[in-house]
Amino acid sequence: MTTLVTPAVPGPGRGTPPGAAPSLQPGMLPGSVPPDLPAPARRRGWWRRNIVWLVLLPIAVAAAAGASSFRVWAYWWPVGLHHEVDRVSVGEPAHMAAEYYDLGLSVPERANTTVLREIDATVTGIEQVERLPPPLYSDPVAIPDGSVAYEVQVHFAAEPQTDVALCQIILVAEDGARYGESNTDLLGGPNRCLPPDAEGSLSEQPEWDVSSFLLADPDAEITQVRLGFGGPEYVTVDLP
């Protein structure tokens, strides 16, 4: 009697038994035909697989920057002179039309409304002076040691009852220094855009003239005059 002995099937991980064909796959009996395996598809590159996110990334960055930049327009933009709305030479009228939020301090009817301030300003003269005129209400002001004083003459035209609060008349030097940025007058006047005897911040006449005095460094080379009302809009007057 002949006994057929079937060789044990080698399990996975045991390696190829001695004497087995080297091309035989684990778990297959000798003589078996391996199934046709599908050829692995060529894998797409990282850029192709993430194309959607790559397109969305700059949009997300722009959205994040916009959302986190609210401080620019909430705190920086409204305070200070950032937007030049007109640029003229000495003797030419500069037109400024800008809206501001009125708290009703001068005209109660305007409280909590947005008001359009339209005003024409002409710088008619700027000169260095040796002495300051006596103030209307206080003691004489001396030009401090190490400073020079300038007088800036401006002609304004606007509808009466135009609010010129926070008026600024600034001299800008060639190196960028800004002289007279404060809206407080050197001689103690309440408003630099109104005559010294004016009360409040409202214009009374359709046209009027003012002289504003400010201090500068002796070696400053003044190149511009800027007029504004706290910002962000302002006008520039180039000096010859």
Partner: protein
Amino acid sequence: MRHGRRRITWKGTALVVGAVTAGCALVTYLPQDDAVDAPFIVEGEVGQPLDLTYAELTVTEVRVADVLTSPAEAAAAAGTFLVVDATWRATQGETTFSGAEVTDEQGRRFWPSSRGGCSTSASAQPGYAWRTTYCFDVPRDALEGATVRLARGDQTEEHGGQRRDAVAVVDLGITASEADALWKAAETVSPEAPGYPPASAGGSEG
């Protein structure tokens, strides 16, 4: 092409956790504040003009006082008042100089007092010098080697307002023997109100 959900592997998990851990360690242990936020210290001494880019500063005089007098009050010091006269001259635009602080050799910090008419800050524009008097109530052992730190940025929150900005540190020049003499002297000082420095030959009056 892959099909189905990606498997979470030990290797990937370790990579993410390791990266987060490394990032936290870098932020925690590297001297980031010193490297990124350090102010630009301009050192000097009394009487020396210092260029802070946004202003020129001169500490003109240092005094001590037991009592400060002003039209409004007479203020007695708990220790002694270190009275520092300084002159600011803004160079760029209207500037508020908020920072004022005295530091002693032990690193203790003393902030200015507003008593007796003293200033705790100053504001000036380009075109003129502006005199300001600061008063610091300090103990006896703070006098020797004291320095005053003045800047436009304030000193709160560990000098948070002075990051990446110029700061003046002026040695007040008080030695050990001078500290004893200053402490024993009974002085009364009336700080001058902020204003233009005293006029000299260059000024003219209208």
